[in-house]
């Protein structure tokens, strides 16, 4: 069985028609992500982070190249299959939470399981289990509008985890949180990664959040620019990230 949860090879994404001015959002990007790894993607605005995430998350299609997630080549799939794939294999955490405000926290978390046709008897223990891990059991019957930003992001994380996906894709999850909540969320993600062996891909421009990752890929002008691994303490890794970013700036 494949050791990699994600295998990206020669990935290109070009905007614009051939006759017009073309823009290479992704230029021959190749990398792998091991099962259970916590990888960060960093880069300045317009570097191609979001495009990379959208293509990997099957929300956007690649112009060329292959992406394999958990051994499945998603570049050859049709719309319906992609939707099913997303609902089974991927979990999403977004900057603006993306909770459905017309559903309770419980219903939000239960939704991915409902969509897969899991019976409501089996849904209940799964929701409570994941809510317990994220410390949000007390707010399950509340509506998103009545809970805090940090709680919303935990609810969103619970929804991303409840169906035990192959990989979690987090797009600036701390972007809308204050530093205390951001820290707490990142610690939760690390906890999930270490204890449950969840593979996480984090897209961020915040060095502090990124310092919780095991490995960071820097992207610039649609190309992979540099890759660093965390070897010792998080603070040291944070410094190392800042240095790389300074290097960018030059």
């Amino acid at each position: 069985m494949n050791q990699h949860v994600l295998h990206v090879k020669n990935l290109n994404k070009v905007y614009g028609k051939k006759s017009e001015n073309q823009y290479h959002a992704l230029n021959n990007v190749s990398f792998d992500m091991a099962r259970g790894e916590f990888v960060g993607i960093m880069g300045s605005s317009g570097a191609g982070k979001t495009t990379l995430l959208n293509v990997i998350s099957t929300l956007d299609s690649a112009t060329s190249g292959t992406i394999e997630i958990a051994g499945t080549n998603i570049t050859a799939m049709k719309q319906g299959q992609l939707a099913d794939f997303r609902s089974e294999q991927l979990g999403f955490i977004f900057q603006d939470f993306n909770l459905l405000e017309n559903l309770t926290v419980y219903e939000n978390i239960a939704l991915p399981l409902s969509l897969q046709g899991v019976s409501s008897k089996k849904i209940k223990p799964s929701v409570h289990k994941v809510a317990g891990k994220l410390g949000i059991e007390a707010i399950l019957e509340k509506y998103p509008v009545t809970i805090s930003g940090g709680q919303k992001q935990r609810a969103a994380a619970a929804r991303a985890l409840v169906h035990e996906p192959a990989m979690i894709l987090a797009d600036e999850p701390t972007g809308a949180l204050d530093s205390k909540n951001a820290k707490s969320l990142m610690e939760t993600l690390v906890h999930l990664n270490e204890n449950l062996d969840t593979s996480i891909m984090l897209v961020t421009h915040d060095p502090l959040s990124a310092s919780y990752c095991q490995r960071i890929l820097f992207i610039q002008d649609g190309k992979l620019f540099k890759e660093i691994h965390r070897k010792n303490s998080r603070t040291a890794f944070h410094q190392e990230i800042l240095d790389v970013l300074a290097e960018f700036a030059e």
Binding site: S57, L59, D60, S61, Q79, G80, L82, A83, D84, F85, R86, S87, E88, L90, F92, F94, N98, L100, E101, N102, L103, E107, A110, L111, P112, L113, S114, L115, G117, S119, S120, K121, I123, K124, Y143, P144, V145, R159
Partner: protein, 618 residues
């Protein structure tokens, strides 16, 4: 510069504006259509069976006007939601508040004027088309009705321009009042849900009581009279709104509490949407239910009146066909009619009198309609009174016995030995001996019964022409009505068809209006759903499932007011039971018309809603 910007952005969000234009246009067209009838006083008065018809139209105009005001405010506030973010952006870029206010006023007014022009054109076409269809169907000349009616046109234009000026001012004021930040973040506001158990309980309780009282008033309209109409109005309208405010949200909440239902597939989302919708839509749903009741009620009443003509004309005649002295052409027509019973009676006539042969009548006694004291339809019975004497006279006469009442009725009504046929001749019944002494030629009259009278209307019309000529030759003067069931039918039809026409015309107008109110309100709130559907797509919900959820959600929203409206109509038809004999006859016709119109609106709403909320696939 700003003007140019605003035009280009209007062009970009064309599909949203299309929804707006469509809604306004429908409203204007229907309003105009209603006015073509309401303002044509001469037409209404000369064609209605109900004396207070002009008053009824005034009430109708008022209701329609009130609904239209709400409708236009929904529509233009939809426009505000479309534009406020961009207006906020102009302001951050330094546009003055006065300029923005001006721009909003201009835009609202501009859209209003465009829809006014299109709406009136459509309204004229619609009035013409609908009127012609019904006139043709009802065999109703509808003289005096004009689809292009200047006074209605003026009213519509003035009413709408005033409304648009008003709403433009409100829109401009609204946008001027808000801070830049409020405008920019307008689409991030979230709905709140609030329910209160006790309040719900009392709401449901009062709703049921109010509607119960209203229904009782309608069912006993004959006793309550005008008071009943007022009582039903003041109870049923608030009762209906209460049902939508308390009962339906409670019902959806209960549905959601059923975990195995709620947690199946996308149900939790569909029900969640519904629950939120219900709370925002209570007033609209209540209004739609009332409009359905009014429109469908008008149409059903119209069709019942139509059906009533046949019943009324059957009340007096046991025989469907009566033909004196059929000529060859008449005989051919009689051959073609499938009689369930057919009898021939002989008579002779001289300059002063008509003599029927007694033995003919006794051998095949004709049926007559016998009225009882109870309020019920008269039954057909055979005349069974003996006629022992030699000579009988229909009218008082010195040398003949008086005729028993049943025989009088048989002769004058069934055999049409009436003034209309014979003028002022005396009518006698003679036994064979006396009859044979009369020197003139023997004549005859054919009586017949058929299964379905209305099937033979064309035949009967031809026979009627022949009878008119015959009566003219008997009476030596111009004859317009000859008697018999067919004459009655035509007379009743002439009285009722104007009323029926108005019922159908107004019914259709109201139904078109109500469905568009609902459609418009749903579409105008669709913008806030875009992000929800986009999110669902991201977490991997197949497009087919999203579409299914939309179909279901909107179906339920369309269903509830339809059910309530339908029940109102079914009970409300009891109101007419004292003037219409069978108020529920052929009720499937108006219900089918309603379902068709409603179904089309439902389908269009789903399609437009899909276009707005479903994320574009890559």
């Amino acid at each position: 510069m700003l003007l140019k910007l605003s035009f280009s952005s209007m062009r970009k969000s064309f599909k949203d504006y299309l929804v707006l234009l469509f809604g306004l246009t429908i409203s204007i067209a229907i309003f105009y259509m209603f006015q073509t009838l309401a303002q044509n006083k001469a037409f209404i008065e000369s064609n209605a069976m109900i004396s207070q018809i002009v008053f009824i139209f005034h009430v109708g105009s008022f209701i329609l006007g009130a609904i239209t005001v709400f409708y236009i405010f929904y529509a233009t506030s939809f426009m505000l939601t479309l534009r406020q973010k961009e207006m906020g952006m102009y302001m951050t870029l330094g546009a003055k508040k006065g300029k923005i206010t001006q721009l909003m006023f201009f835009e609202t007014f501009f859209i209003g004027i465009i829809s006014l022009v299109i709406g009136i054109v459509i309204g004229i076409g619609l009035a013409m088309g609908v009127a012609e269809l019904f006139m043709w169907q009802l065999n109703f000349s509808g003289e005096g009705f004009e689809a292009f009616y200047i006074s209605s046109l003026t009213t519509t234009v003035i009413f709408y321009i005033a409304l648009f000026v008003l709403t433009s001012i409100v829109n401009a004021w609204q946008i001027g009042r808000k801070s830049v930040l409020n405008l920019l973040r307008a689409d991030q506001k979230q709905d709140q849900i609030k329910t209160n158990g006790l309040k719900t309980f009392f709401g449901v309780f009062f709703a049921l009581i109010l509607i119960g009282v209203g229904y009782y008033a309608m069912m006993n309209m004959a006793e309550f009279k005008q008071f009943g109409v007022i009582l039903a109005t003041v109870t049923i309208i608030p009762g209906t709104y209460l049902i939508f405010i308390s009962l339906l949200p409670y019902f959806i909440k209960k549905l959601k509490q059923n975990r195995s239902l709620n947690e199946k597939g996308i149900n939790s989302f569909t029900l969640g949407q519904l629950r939120f919708r219900m709370l925002n839509l209570t007033k609209v749903l209540g209004t739609v239910a009332m409009l359905i009741a009014l429109g469908l009620g008008a149409m059903t009443a119209g069709i019942s009146f139509y059906h009533n003509i046949e019943i009324q004309s059957s009340m007096f005649h046991a025989n469907d066909v009566v033909v004196h002295q059929p000529d060859n052409e008449d005989k051919e027509i009689l051959e073609a009619i499938d009689f369930t019973e057919e009898n021939v009676y002989h008579y002779k006539a001289d300059g002063k009198s008509v003599y029927f042969l007694k033995e003919d009548l006794l051998n095949n006694p004709p049926g007559i309609k016998k009225f009882t004291d109870q309020f019920e339809l008269p039954k057909t019975v055979r005349v069974d009174k003996a006629l022992p004497d030699e000579k009988y006279s229909l009218y008082e006469s010195e040398n003949a016995s008086g005729l028993p009442e049943d025989w009088q009725q048989a002769l004058s009504t069934e055999l049409n030995a009436s003034y209309q046929m014979f003028g002022d001749k005396d009518i006698f019944i003679y036994s064979t001996t006396a009859y044979d002494k009369i020197p003139t030629d023997e004549l005859q009259v054919t009586l017949g019964k058929v299964d379905d009278f209305t099937n033979y209307l064309p035949h009967l019309e031809k026979l009627n022409e022949g009878q008119l000529q015959l009566a003219e030759s008997y009476r030596g003067e111009n004859v317009e009505v000859v008697g018999g069931k067919y004459s009655n039918y035509i007379a009743f039809q002439a009285i009722a068809s104007g009323t029926i026409f108005m019922g159908l015309f107004l019914g259709i107008a109201f139904l078109m209006m109500m469905a568009s109110v609902l459609m418009f309100k749903l579409l105008s709130s669709a913008g806030s759903d875009v992000s929800r559907y986009n999110m669902l797509r991201k977490i991997g919900v197949r497009k087919g499932l999203l579409v299914k959820s939309i179909y279901r959600e909107l179906f339920l929203l369309f269903l509830f007011p339809a059910l309530v409206g339908l029940v109102h109509v079914l009970v409300g038809m009891q109101m007419f039971s004292f003037i219409i004999i069978e108020p529920y006859a052929k009720i499937w016709i108006p219900i089918s018309i309603f379902l068709l119109i409603y179904g089309i609106y439902y389908w269009i709403t789903v399609q437009m809603y899909k276009r707005i909320v479903l994320p574009k696939e890559i």
